[in-house]
């Protein structure tokens, strides 16, 4: 089987390759998106904890 035959898929190239292409896009997105979500959660939490610590320090100074 030659490369052009492979991509031609017996005339069904449009259907076969759009099935595989779309699956690749959707599954890659589902896989990669939680990596960024986790990073942003960690960033948010770091800010939150820092603010809490600052607040505690201020309260200690006042007393």
């Amino acid at each position: 089987m030659s490369i052009s035959e492979f991509f031609y898929m017996g005339g069904y190239a449009l259907y076969v390759w759009s099935s595989y292409g779309l699956s690749l896009v959707v599954l890659a997105w589902i896989f990669i998106s939680p990596i960024y979500t986790k990073k942003s959660i960690i960033k948010e939490l770091r800010m939150k904890y820092r603010q809490q610590e600052r607040q505690q320090e201020r309260e200690q100074q006042e007393t």
């Binding site: 259907y15 076969v16 595989y20 779309l22 986790k38 959660i41 939490l45």
Partner: protein, 249 residues
């Protein structure tokens, strides 16, 4: 019924976070290995179909995706039920983070089915039992996601979602048996039946490899989602604060 203390200990969010972190890379490698093996056999070893020519190669993603759509739904409903009965937070979490992955597989099963149906049946879509019940499955997933997103309190969100997921389980046998109970354009089962599979071994091997590969993909991606969500849900506990501030997350 009470669960033994060891179950609660091992399913604690902190323990779950540590264990899952070690498991994810293994699942990812096993997924990639089976994926490439499946694609190789599917495109280079399996011969063209005597009726459908090369178009049938859509099957190697369509069928495993459809299996996943039902498999993940059952996990989601089971995890929801466990969370409802024994109040295990990790079970609630698994139900929530499974939903978008299940919805993605359902969407792919529908779209690749449509892309296969057009050249073989001459139509993108028919309102028959198999296709309609699979579309209802997609709506169940989307309903579950929307319902949980609309309830602020995490306990109530988990409870409401679990009830919806459990009620929706009735749709699963309907999807599976739809091709037997009603007359339909969709072909009957060739693998998941009590009799010997009526698919040739050269096509069965890539199909099963892809099915295993999709399961490993789900295992890796559901744990990755759970690990992010667990930090958010447990942000007031000390272990999360330690992990986040010490940069070992």
């Amino acid at each position: 019924m009470k669960l033994p203390a060891i179950v609660h200990k091992y399913s604690s969010p902190k323990n779950f976070y540590t264990m899952s972190g070690k498991m994810v890379p293994w699942f990812v490698w096993a997924f990639l290995l089976t994926l490439f093996a499946g694609l190789y056999y599917g495109f280079f070893e399996a011969p063209p179909d005597y009726q459908q020519g090369e178009s049938y190669r859509i099957m190697f993603i369509h069928v495993p995706a459809a299996w996943m759509s039902m498999f993940i739904y059952m996990i989601m409903a089971t995890a929801g039920a466990i969370g409802l009965i024994w109040r295990i937070k990790t079970a609630d979490l698994m139900a929530s983070v499974s939903a978008p992955i299940g919805a993605a597989f359902t969407f792919l099963a529908l779209v690749t089915g449509s892309l296969w149906g057009k050249p073989m049946w001459g139509t993108w879509w028919v309102w028959d039992a198999r296709l309609t019940s699979e579309l209802i499955l997609l709506f169940l997933y989307l309903g579950f996601i929307a319902l949980q997103a609309s309830i602020e309190d995490p306990r109530n969100a988990a409870r409401a979602g679990a009830v919806l997921a459990i009620v929706g389980v009735v749709n699963i046998p309907i999807i599976h048996y739809s091709v037997e109970w009603w007359s339909t354009l969709h072909q009957g089962a060739t693998v998941t039946k009590l009799d010997k599979p009526s698919i040739h071994i050269s096509m069965l091997i890539p199909l099963l490899l892809m099915a295993v590969s999709f399961k490993l993909y789900y295992a890796a991606s559901v744990l990755m989602r759970a690990r992010g969500e667990i930090l958010r849900r447990e942000q007031n506990s000390r272990w999360v604060k330690e992990i986040v501030t010490e940069d070992v997350a």
